[in-house]
Symmetry: C2
Subunit: 311 residues, 2 copies
């Protein structure tokens, strides 16, 4: 990968994504004594940045591979993203989901014409079922975050953000599986001279924070966080990138996530999901470190059950 | 008033308002088989279009008048708008509010440095208290909707919308007091050759609908609608404009308002208040009339208690 290739990735996914707006809020800037630029991936197609990585992963395949389809295991945004990207590109998508996944998530995948294959609700059953689908259909397995083409796809949000605001001092992104943070870090490394990348992570699922400390991939025993998109684990493709290019990871408490989410809803009148609020919660928590700085914050998605809010 | 003067109004208020974005949604366009352009006044300063009219009303005063301040009676968005506009222009604002107004609304006015004067919770007490403040302070009374400079100010949202999308077939706006709808109708009349203006109104507060039918101002006995910004009555400054320039008013049921609101929240990831949803609910209700048309919809505001939603 080099800068030119990264720009080609962006060109390739452009027909399948929105160029999302960057919003600002005077009230929030006054509150943090800094200039915050929110990259609104909650306005992305299907409601989250995952559309970028999913589209790039499918477009990276040969036409022979595309003809056999793609498979993933996810019950979250990546399931919808891969389904929609596959539909738009004209490829079959097989989505392995636990039997007990919420009906609303199954419906979302069906809206985008993904083929749901149910499995028992545990990691081993999930992997086995995905392997079975691969074997039977010849579909290519695409991991929601631990995949190079997914990582580069996610990085295109940062290419756009730095095109709009080239002189950012920091870009802060949430970290769960690590695809977004790794993509953000790579794109920042290629497209900015001095901007630093920081991750925001729920304290209740802080494998990335602990991995950076120990220098090897650490695991979460529990992932008891409202930020449901960040309950996944760091992978071996993401971690080396994060280790090399991410300045630090700031951990936030559950109530800090909810507070940051509510603040953005009330002040900016936009809907973001709890995972999206984690990056801004990290800025709020360490605001003395950001005074007078220009901070890009990636609002990763807006898929939330508006009938079941934490406030 | 002429076209040139209307543009001067716009220039005059520009330093005090945001030029709000116009958003679109593929999913919504597919649903209604039309192209809908949402003018996002929910992103306006203090969260509603009322900022435009309030700013213009104050800026229309002589410096002698401005020195004595302004007074209004409102417990809603206009109270906040007049307070904030007055603060920015450097004028005193007196806000007459019922004693039992929700604390959250009083706090919002105080945030913007409005001086709250409490009164009993009935229309006569409100008028009397406003008259008393006028007499004691020399402040100019500004009505939230039934005032020419307020009407022209509200119309600037439509000037912007038609600058961005000059070939709209329809603009649909909610109607309560009638300031926004009258301003929309005047601006459309001046700045578009063929665009028609339609009002959306809650069936439970349908004085404007009935007034258009009878040709004289009708009153509501009850205003039992979730669209709290539309519980006000049509005025004698608005009605002649609406009668002359508005094509028709579409009435919507309470559940249609809630459904339209939820649809915009979920599909567009933006926060709008129930009153804002009324215009889009009108489009949904009569969608066969709008097939393949280009429709501007004014999302009037986004001030809603996110902890107390109707869904």
């Amino acid at each position: 990968m080099n800068k030119e290739m990264f720009l080609q990735v962006h060109e390739r996914v452009k027909p399948y994504i929105h160029r999302t707006p960057v919003l600002t809020s005077e009230l929030i800037n006054e509150m943090v004594h800094a200039n915050v630029y929110f990259k609104c991936e909650n306005f992305q197609k299907m409601g989250a940045f995952k559309m970028r990585g999913a589209a790039n992963a499918i477009l990276s395949l040969s036409s022979e591979e595309q003809a056999k389809g793609v498979v993933t295991h996810s019950s979250g945004n990546f399931a919808q993203a891969l389904s929609l990207a596959a539909k738009k590109i004209g490829v079959k998508a097989y989505i392995v989901m636990p039997k007990n996944a919420p009906q609303v998530k199954k419906n979302a995948v069906r809206t985008y014409k993904g083929n749901i294959i149910e499995c028992d609700s545990n990691p081993i059953a999930r992997e086995e079922m995905a392997a079975k689908v691969q074997k039977e259909t010849g579909a290519t397995f695409i991991h929601p975050s631990n995949d190079d083409s997914v990582i580069y796809g996610q990085g295109t949000a940062t290419i756009e953000l730095l095109e709009d605001y080239p002189d950012l001092d920091y870009i802060v992104s949430p970290v769960g599986g690590g695809g977004l943070l790794a993509g953000t870090a790579l794109a920042t490394n290629y497209f900015s001279k001095h901007c630093k990348v920081i991750g925001g992570e729920p304290k209740n699922a802080d494998d990335a924070y602990r991995s950076l400390l120990s220098g090897k991939i650490e695991h979460n025993d529990e992932v008891n966080t409202i930020a449901d998109g960040l309950r996944t684990f760091l992978g071996d493709r993401n971690f080396p990138i994060i280790k090399k290019h991410v300045e630090k990871i700031i951990r936030v408490e559950e109530e800090e996530i909810i507070e940051a989410m509510k603040l953005i809803w009330e002040r900016m009148k936009i809907i973001i999901e709890p995972s999206s609020a984690v990056a801004f919660a990290a800025v709020l928590k360490n605001k003395e470190d950001f005074i007078n700085k220009k901070i890009g914050v990636i609002l990763s998605g807006g898929n939330v059950d508006v009938g079941n809010l934490p406030f």
